[in-house]
């Protein structure tokens, strides 16, 4: 077992280094805020008669 001190990483550093979490953020945020919200707005428009 190593006796070297383990350097504490901040939460921000752990987030910045977690590439899979970044991939998740990069897909979810624009999908929800831009695509889904925008599509729902278009879909909720009343049909012209």
């Amino acid at each position: 077992m190593s006796n070297e001190p383990v350097e504490q990483q901040t939460v921000l550093q752990r987030v910045l280094d977690d590439i899979n979490f970044i991939m998740m953020l990069g897909l979810v945020i624009p999908t929800v805020l831009y695509t889904l919200w925008g599509v729902m707005e278009v879909a909720s428009l009343p049909i012209a008669r």
Binding site: L12, Q13, V15, L16, D17, I19, I22, M23, L25, G26, L27, I29, P30, T31, L33, Y34, T35, W37, G38, V39, E41, V42, A43, L45
Partner: protein
């Protein structure tokens, strides 16, 4: 010197000291060569467009103009850039992480699919039945193979992204690097995340359009198409922004030995891109009546400003890191000695710094201002919009890619550059012409000249409108700038292709072209007034003042156009 291992052959590059995977090198070279070929195609189509929109020349009839405009938009805006980005991500993932490439056969599938897809779409455009421009808004119908080619291209690019991701996983498992990803690779990773969203969104909307063109589905809702398409169309440009900012950091490190002023701040700025940059797609839809003000304003005026903050951070830290490096290397007098004594004749540097200036002062400022819902009414669907995105994509991205190419040709092709005096002025020709083009078109657009129109004089039309002499002059100046930038682009292609085919081989004992870390002075105090990079601080304030002034000038102009009583 080539070192062969059981798994994958490598060579150690004498110019950079990098250990290069030869399979990745072949892929990088292939993608880069294809990119330059398509830059030629896109540039020629752009020349035809410029010579038509120049009122005194007015070269092409309407049908050929729209064909050229479609080809220019697709090839210059997407094909050249994405091929080059594939080259960049493969190079960074393997050479900078000292790692083999994951799934080389899939990477070759990327090359084949993107090439075949481009060929199919290009044929569709040249057949004359698909002059629907880049956006291809339904119900404007293109031939089925137009959509099919784009879909194949997008699938190929998506495969390239996963090969990059797999390489990151291998590098981590095989411990080819310690700690965090190097900043350059980190920037590529961010670009790839944006690319995955972009390409998936493209598939969501282009596959229905393809099926509709085949008659397999009855219709695609035009408004739904616009919303989803711009998740693809605009986000593809956000990949470019991330990629060229990554290249700025790379060149600052390679040419000056510069280190980011704060790695954590730069990485956080990239994280802001991940969260907010793609939401800027909304600014294409700010005049669409069916979408609520809440959706528009949250996505542009609120969220996108956080992405703008990230761009301001990058715009401060890249020149700032160069300034700190220059000052540590002894150029510490006054505010701007470090800037005056930069290697302005070196195309690697001049391309990069011009990319920073044009992207920041022209593309960046105009992008922020046009994303304001009220101001957008002045310029929506005018020629201002092409002015803006030529400032970002051509002046920012293409110029940065040109700078990196000058650096990488001796490294990857092991050939020295030819025509060095021409190479010294080429970025100024391309960047200068593009800056004139962008500013003039933004001026004409502010005064109402429409985009996507073959004849601004409406000659022979029953419902003509006279935009006046000032607009004709602005369009002429702009298109002259466009022609100059095409000349600059042609010079770039001549130098690069000529160097690859006829350049002298790089000697085995060539001097290393990576600058040593600029910390030779140890803890020597640099800068002025407590600032390590005071010159950059002044330049950043200048940019900010320009942004604020331009913002309020546009609101003032809006008030004069639509006076409220």
């Amino acid at each position: 010197m080539a070192i062969t291992t059981a798994q994958s052959p490598f060579r150690t590059d004498p110019l950079t000291g990098l250990r290069i995977d030869l399979t990745a090198q072949a892929l990088v070279k292939t993608n880069a060569v294809l990119a330059v070929v398509f830059l030629l195609v896109g540039g020629l189509a752009g020349l035809l467009v410029a010579l038509t929109r120049w009122p005194a020349v007015h070269l092409l009839p309407a049908d050929l103009f729209y064909m050229a405009l479609t080809a220019h938009g697709l090839v210059a805006l997407v094909v050249w850039i994405v091929f080059f980005e594939m080259a960049v991500i493969y190079f960074c993932a393997t050479s900078l992480l000292n790692c083999r490439l994951a799934a080389p056969k899939w990477a070759w599938a990327q090359v084949v699919l993107m090439t075949v897809g481009t060929a199919i779409t290009t044929v569709a455009v040249l057949q004359g039945e698909s002059s629907v421009m880049f956006s291809a808004y339904v119900p404007l119908a293109a031939a089925p193979h137009f959509y099919l080619g784009i879909i194949l291209f997008a699938v190929g690019a998506l495969i390239g992204c996963f090969v990059f991701w797999g390489t990151l996983v291998i590098a981590k498992e095989e411990k080819t690097y310690e700690g965090s990803l190097p900043l350059t690779v980190y920037g590529c990773m961010i670009a790839v995340v944006i690319a995955v969203f972009t390409l998936a969104t493209g598939a969501v909307i282009l596959i229905p359009a393809f099926l509709w063109s085949l008659g397999l589905i009855k219709s695609v809702d035009p408004m739904m198409y616009r919303v989803v398409f711009w998740g693809f169309g605009h986000s593809s440009q956000q990949i470019n922004v991330t990629a060229h900012i990554t290249i700025w950091y790379t060149v600052a490190g390679l040419a000056f030995g510069a280190k980011p002023m704060s790695e954590k701040v730069s990485r956080t700025a990239f994280l802001l891109y991940i969260c907010f940059l793609q939401l800027g797609s909304t600014h294409h839809l700010l005049s669409d009546p069916g979408l609520s003000a809440s959706w528009k304003i949250v996505n542009t005026s609120y969220m996108m400003y956080l992405a703008v903050l990230a761009s301001l951070i990058h715009g401060l830290t890249v020149p700032g890191s160069i300034e700190v490096a220059q000052r540590r290397n002894g150029l510490d007098n006054g505010l701007f000695e470090w800037l005056r004594k930069c290697p302005w004749g070196n195309p690697v540097f001049s391309s990069t710094i011009l990319s920073i200036i044009i992207f920041g002062f022209i593309g960046g400022i105009s992008g922020v201002v046009m994303s304001v819902e009220q101001i957008n009414m002045i310029i929506h669907n005018t020629i201002y919009v092409p002015g803006h995105f030529h400032g970002t994509v051509a002046g920012g991205t293409t110029l940065a890619f040109m700078g990196l190419t000058y650096y990488l040709v001796p490294v990857l092709f092991q050939r020295q550059l030819i025509l060095k005096p021409l190479a010294a002025i080429q970025p100024w020709l391309f960047g200068g012409g593009m800056a004139v083009f962008a500013v003039a078109l933004m001026g004409a657009g502010t005064l109402g000249v429409p985009r996507r129109h073959q004849d601004m004089t409406f000659a022979g039309q029953a419902l003509a409108y006279d935009y006046g002499g000032m607009n004709q002059l602005l369009m002429a100046i702009g298109e002259i700038g466009g022609v100059i930038s095409v000349v600059g682009g042609a010079a770039f292609i001549l130098i690069i292709v000529g160097s690859i085919l006829m350049g002298e081989p790089v000697p085995a004992n060539a001097k290393c072209i990576v600058a040593p870390p600029a910390d030779a002075g140890g803890h020597k105090k640099i800068g002025m007034g407590g600032f390590e990079a005071p010159g950059t601080f002044v330049l950043a304030l200048t940019l900010f003042v320009c942004l604020v002034l331009y913002y309020f000038v546009n609101f003032k102009y809006l008030a004069t156009l639509w006076p409220l009583t």
